[in-house]
Structures are given as C-alpha cells and as structure tokens.
C-alpha cells in the first residue's frame, strides 16, 4: 500500500501537469451533448465545496484586501478611502524597510544553504547502504516539528547567552554573548532553524535522484569522466526540475516565516520581535500593524506588497527555468 505512493514520481510534481493530459480524449459513445451536460453538472457538483471556498475565502477576501489597502481602517469606523497614503507611509517607514531587509536577508542566506545541505545529504543517502532508510527518516523529522512553538522555545534557549552555541563559540575564542540578545545575530538563529529542516527538500531530491537513468553514468564512466564532471553534466541537469521545484517552494515559504520569528524574538507579550526588531520579519510587522495597532488598511497594503514580491520571484524563476531546467524530452 505504502509503495503505491512511490508510483507517482517526484518529477510529476511539476505544475505543468495540467488536466488536459487526461485519457478522456477518446470520443465518447452515445449522445455527446447530453452526456456533456451531465458531466458539467457532475463536475460542478463535485467541485462545489472548492468553488464556495474559493469565492468566500480566497477571491472575495483578496478583493476586499485590495480595497482595504487604499483605506484607513481601524475596525471601529468604516474604511475611509485614502488613496496611496498607506503605500507612501510604508515606503517612508524605517521599520518597514528594516523588516523587508531582514526578510530578504533571511531568504537569501537561508534558502541556498538549506537547499545545498539538502542536495548534499541526498547525494550521500542516494547510496544504497545499510541504515539508509533510517537516516532518511531521521533527517526528515525536523521538517515536521520545525514550525512548532516547542521547537522555537528550544531554539531560543540553545542560542542564548552561555548556552551550548555560545559555549562552543567561546572555545574558538569568540564571545558573542548569545545570539538571541544581539539584534544582528538573532536572525541567524532563524537561518539555522530553517537549515535544520533540510529534510523535506532532501526527500524530494532523493526521489529525483533515483529517476536518473544509470546508463548515463555508465556511459560517462566509459568516457572516463570524473565524478565531479558526472555530477555537473549528468546529475544536475537530470534533477533540475526537482531543483527548480525546491527552489520555488522554499523561497516562497521563507518569505512567509512567522511563528518561529515571533516566538524566538518575542520576550513576553510579543510586541517586540527580538532585541531591536532583530526578528521583525515582514509577516511579524504585518501582524503588529494589523492586530496590535489595529491598522488593517496599512496591513492590507503590506500584504499586497508581499504578494507582489512573491509573484515577482515566482515569475523570475519560471522565466529563468528555460535556461537551466531540463525536462526529459518526450517524457510526457
């Protein structure tokens, strides 16, 4: 039963697997028109929860949010149209710019390290050895618990003054005095937390690696290509769709980090995200403005900026994939 899942290989995770690849291209017997109508009815009936959810919880709110973004809205009084004021306030706000800066920093530093770790360990585990399944499972576990409040609490403790990380540093003669008290360093404890969760992309890499035809390596061996060359010329291109998928997913997720920043950074009460806003990532600031300062209009404007940023990153990645992502020819 379990193995049935593996029949759907990782490469299928590509979003271009539209429903048009369905088998139902064959002409249908008897009364195509009536049949079509019945199919439509059935289709929408089955889809009705999703459609309701999409309209009520996605499309509707998005429209409302777009409207709020141009208003002053404190929940008490009706939203008041103020044009672009929220956006000009946002761009002029050093705290907002700070949150953008550390969020970008977190994404730009954390995501590559995490993915490189994931790929490296995946290559290691791709060797069939005794205990491989155990290691794979153990390395994956942090991805399940990493987002929890519990782990954030543990993380804060491990990275504080005179705790294990600090003591280890002291062995090398560096006394940073604990990362969680330092406005510059605390963000790296969050980077460490995301890297710790490399297991999820690793599993996807592993699934990708097992798809690479062995003949390619055998042929390369015959040609006398070194292992490094083989990695560069065979492995990397062959797993590039999986790499693309991981980069896309991890980047988008990193932009949205909230809980761990909130817990690791927040002393009590939570108004402060870290010393001197050290973990005031974008979503934390959005939360503070929206839910602590009741500035729903401003927070909506911030949310839309996040959407635009994520959309841009997605667009750039999709655009760039022509250059570096190789899909198997005739594979689909």
């Amino acid at each position: 039963m379990g193995s049935a899942v593996t029949h759907a290989p990782a490469t299928e995770a590509r979003t271009d697997t539209g429903p048009r690849h369905g088998p139902e291209k064959a002409p249908r017997p008897a009364g195509p028109k009536q049949r079509g109508r019945r199919e439509n009815l059935a289709g929408y009936l089955f889809m009705s929860p999703w459609i309701a959810g999409f309209l009520l919880l996605t499309a509707g709110p998005m429209a409302a949010s777009l409207y709020f973004a141009f208003t002053d809205y404190n929940l008490f009084d009706a939203p008041r149209w103020i044009g672009l004021d929220n956006f000009s306030e946002m761009f002029g706000d050093p705290r907002w710019r700070h949150s953008v800066r550390i969020t970008l920093w977190y994404v730009v530093v954390g995501t590559p390290i995490k993915l490189i770790a994931a790929l490296g360990v995946a290559l290691l585990l791709a060797q069939k050895r005794r205990g491989q399944a155990f290691y794979r499972a153990a390395f994956y576990a942090p991805s399940l618990i990493g987002a929890s409040v519990s782990v954030a609490i543990v993380w804060k403790a491990i990275f504080s003054d005179d705790a294990v990380v600090d003591r280890t540093q002291q062995l090398f003669g560096i006394d940073a005095g604990g990362w969680t008290g330092d406005p510059e360093l605390i963000i790296y404890s969050l980077v460490a937390l995301t890297v710790w969760q490399f297991g999820a992309p690793m599993v996807i890499f592993l699934a990708g690696l097992k798809q690479v035809p062995r003949e390619l390596y055998e042929a390369a061996d015959v040609d006398g290509a070194g292992k490094l060359r083989q990695f560069w010329n065979i492995t990397l291109p062959m797993i590039s769709p999986v790499l693309f998928f991981n980069v896309l997913l991890e980047t988008i997720h990193s932009f949205q980090i909230f809980s761990s920043a909130y817990i690791v950074g927040g002393g009590a009460g939570g108004n402060a995200c870290g010393p001197a806003d050290g973990t005031m990532v974008y979503t934390c600031y959005l939360y503070v403005q929206g839910f602590e300062n009741s500035r729903m209009g401003l927070a909506s404007a911030m949310a839309w900026m996040l959407l635009v940023a994520v959309a841009l990153v997605t667009a750039v990645l999709f655009w760039s994939q022509k250059r570096w992502v190789h899909y198997e020819e005739g594979g689909r």
Binding site: G181, G267, G269, E292
Partner: protein, 433 residues
Amino acid sequence: MQQSGNAERQAGRRTILKAAGASLAVAGLGATATACGGGSGSGDGTVTIRYSWWGAEDRAERINKTIALFEKKYPKIKVKTDFQPYTDFWKKFNTQASGGNPPDVFQNAIGFLRKYDAKNVLLDLSGQVEAGNLSMDGFRAGLEKFGEIDGKLLGVPVGSNSMALVIDKPVYTRAGIKPEQGWTWDDFDEAMTKVRDRTGRAGDSGMYGVMYLYDLYLRQNGKAFFTEDGLGFTEADLTTWWTRAEKGVKSGLFADPKKVAQIKPKSALSAELAGSEFTWDNFTVRYTSEGKSEYGLAPIPTTDGKRTGQYLGSLMLSAYKRTQHPKEVARFIDFMVHDPEVAKIMGYDRGVPTTQTQYDAYRPTDPVNKAIAAYEESLVEAGVLERITPHPNGADICEAAFLRIAEEMALGSRSVEEAVKQFFTESKTALAG
C-alpha cells in the same frame, strides 16, 4: 497598579510572594468556607456579566476567589471571566470592542481611557454613582478622581502604585549607598558609578526606556511626557536624555542591553545584571519571588532636591458603554473596591487598595509588602505627590515605541539622533489617530 506597558509587558507577572503566601491562603480559605452552601442560582432573572483582565496565573486564582465571594452575595449575578497577558489582552479587547462585543467589565489603565472614550467604548459610571449602585466615597489620597476624564467617570481605581527605584539591598549596602528623599540625579550617577566599581554589577537596568520615569524627570523640569493632545517635550530634550543613557550603557553604568534582552521576561535586577531598576513600587513582590536577593524601595532622584514629580497611579475597572447590565456591573465594581474580604484575597497584587476600608482590611505582615505600604505612605507624608500627566489617545502606542526605540539605541542599532527622530515620527502617527 498601573503597569500599563513597559513593566507589565516584560513581566510574566508572578506576583506570588512566598512570605505572604501563607497569610493569603488563610484569607482565601476563609473566603471559600463562607462561600460554601450556596447552590448555583438557577432561578429566573439571573444575569451573567463578562469580566476580563490582564495578568498572570496568580492574579487569576485570586480574582476567581473574589468572584466566588461576589456571586455568593449576589446570587442573581453570574460572572464569566477570561484573562490574557498584557499585550494580548489589548489586542483581543480591541477586536472585541470593534465588533461590539467587549466584556461588560474589564481591567483598564490610564493610557487607554481617552483612546476608548474616543471610540465610544467606555461607560460613564457617574450615572450609576447617582443611582446608588456604586460608591465613590472612601478613596485614599484623592484617588476617586483618577479615572475621571472631561467630567466623565470612566474607570474606578482598584490599586494604587507609584514609580520607585527598586534596589538590590545587599548590593547597595556593599557599595555604601544610602539613597534619601530629595537626592539628585548627580547623586544618582555617583551611586551608579559606586555600584559598578565596588560590586562589579551595572548600577541600573536601563532607565532610558521607561516612559513613566522620563515623565517624572520632565515633570521635575516643568514639562511632562504628554499634553492633552500631544507630546510635552522637544526632540532636543529627548536627545539629552538618551545621549546620557548611551554614555551610561557604554561605560557600564547601565546593564548590557544584549544580556537584558536575553533574560526577558525576567528582569535585569532579579537576574543580577543590575543593582537597581526604576519601576512600579509593587514590583518588589515579583522580584522577590523571581530573584534570590532582598529588594527594597528607594526614592526617585530629583532635579532641585525637592520635587520628584511623582503621582499615584492605579489600575482601574471600567465598564462597556452598551452593556446590557449597567446596574449589575456597577454593583460588581463597587463590591471589588469596597469589600474588605476582597482586599484580603487580592493583597497588593494590583497595587495598594484604593479605598480606606480595603486598605485597613489588608495589612501586610511580610517585609516586602510592608515596605510598599510604607513607601506610599512616605510619599504622602513628604508631600511630593502631584496631579497625573494626561494620557492622550495613542499614549499606549507611544509608550511601546519609547521602550522599543530606546532599546534599539542602547543596542547600537540606531544612533541617538536617529532614535529620537524615529520616536517622534511614530508618536506623531499614533497621537494623530
């Protein structure tokens, strides 16, 4: 007490005091014993009111006991409660109030009176006073005026407190310092230096971020933190204050802000990073349970050798303007501020009881609470108490910003100049709303 903000925010307040515990438990037992026998009043005409407050578990347990007492006396009124830590409390309160569904009665602080009055959330209780459901007689030191704004009674004070310098007694003794009423800021600086040099500990935990202390300093100089509708000081004033602070941090007079940030919500004083800390007088209770040392109260330094700028603050109970049960709510508040049994249960958890009856009903036997009572009495005797600074709509946000930006300045992520500018920008936005 009136820990709107700074103090309470840092505090996972655990006001239990080992020493006072026993006597309180006895009082509590007495209360439950007398409360026995009253079945749940399932008759018709029973009214349920909702009551919310912020605070910690310990306060919750005490309040639940006082409510049991109240329900015994008024079997037709049921009280449903919930509580949160400080910041969460106001966040939830705000959304509930905006949805027209706030609690009927709730804990309140001075910084929020105008804010929620402007939003039509607060009930003017003077009508209930006239109707005889709530008595405003018998308050100490003029506290009955504390919750009055523009002639409206928006909050009834439940426990008074005042800013103080909380000191680690053994440390001060070792440093050879004896602060006296009327000592000056120069004396204070000297004392900080002595603490640093003789005990190897920073003198103070970081006074530069405490809005209520800066307010006192400004008041000593004829200004105040707020006016009726804005800030009562200039950028130059704040630059001076924070430049001094920056020097103090660099020279080790004030505790290393990095370390202070990491031990939160524990205080720098009980964590033995500093020898003293400016905060509300009843925080000695918390520090005593948190730390290992013995803590005492010292007077606020002055500018001219006389004025401390102090006033008595207080937590309040307020009611929702459109509550279905104004009469019951008024009776509830009345009970909570006047009933002597309530005072025995609550102790000084929210500050020193505001009415004379309650003040007399609970006489602390342990040294820490005794010291608090003595401190407030000494303020009355020294005649230093003045009128409170007004708190305009948005004061709460200014206070949080002040604390945060001061910390950023101390940590070096902003220069003093930038910090001052940032504070003025943020408070302008907050006070305009």
